[in-house]
């Protein structure tokens, strides 16, 4: 039992617990908080792998921005507890067995056929300078494309979320 494995197991357990809690909780804000827990412990897992920049960005972007948006929307819509409605038999009859089948196969393959490599703590230091170099040289085009993507997403979000009656009211005022 070395330090790396111990830390991995501790935070992995927190991760899984958070993920399961996300499923079990009926109130969305609890699910959101569980997800934040998952993300935070994932950030620690990244640190264990040496990806410190990714870990920091994970916290800042995921926990600090995306999840804040979720919490914000939950607060804004004042979402209550989940209703129990029997909407879809197919999801339960086909989807869940499919999911279980798929994950079983993947787990079996991972454990039986590819469990050869292992990683040590801080295996690959994710130095911000190197990452920046890669991002702005080797991956410049994808980077620019994603920037366009996010610009479009911003505009789309603004259009979608703006109240439709806003324009008609504006016309009335005129």
């Amino acid at each position: 039992m070395n330090l790396h494995l111990a830390l991995f197991l501790i935070f992995g357990a927190i991760c899984v617990a958070g993920a399961i809690n996300l499923l079990v909780q009926r109130h969305p804000i609890n699910s959101a908080l569980s997800l934040i827990t998952v993300m935070a412990s994932l950030a620690v897992e990244y640190l264990l792998l040496g990806a410190e920049f990714v870990a920091a960005v994970q916290v800042i972007i995921y926990a600090g921005a995306i999840m804040v948006l979720f919490v914000f929307v939950i607060m804004l819509l004042n979402a209550g507890e989940e209703e129990r409605s029997g909407g879809s038999r197919i999801a339960l009859l086909i989807g869940v067995p499919g999911m279980i089948l798929g994950s079983t196969i993947v787990a079996w393959v991972l454990l039986e056929h590819s469990a050869t490599g292992s990683v040590s703590i801080g295996a690959l230091p994710g130095d911000p300078k190197k990452i920046g170099w890669l991002l702005f040289h080797d991956f410049l085009l994808p980077f620019e494309v994603t920037s366009v993507l996010i610009l479009i997403a911003i505009m789309g979000a603004v259009v979608l979320a703006s109240k439709p009656e806003l324009s008609s009211r504006g016309e009335k005022e005129r």
């Binding site: 899984v16 990806a51 939950i74 994710g126 190197k130 997403a153």
Partner: protein, 100 residues
């Protein structure tokens, strides 16, 4: 030293939880969070593989996934707000007009 497969199994568990959440949760926001959970699971495997192959591109990929997740969250939450405005519910079982 931790076997690579442990990381992969952890990522697989997170991904499976995401799928399960998508399948069994009714609240549209929670479903959306399940997607984020799946993305996080995938990110973990990217970082683990980056460490395993000693190549930073795996970590770079995580950034792109994050950006896409951010874009998706912005648009998705805007859609949720729009749906809530028109249907006054967050239950996906009641938002089912897209059919014959």
């Amino acid at each position: 030293m931790v076997p690579l497969s442990y990381y992969l199994v952890l990522s697989g568990i997170l991904f499976a939880c995401g799928i399960l959440g998508f399948l069994i949760k009714r609240n549209i926001i929670t479903i959306f969070m399940s997607i984020e959970l799946m993305l996080n699971g995938v990110n973990l495997s990217f970082v683990a593989f980056a460490a395993h192959w000693q190549h930073l591109s795996g970590q770079i990929f995580v950034f792109f996934v994050m950006v896409v997740a951010a874009a998706e969250a912005a648009v998705g939450l805007a859609i949720i707000i729009a749906v809530y405005r028109t249907r006054a519910t967050l239950n996906v079982d009641q938002v089912n007009l897209l059919k014959l």
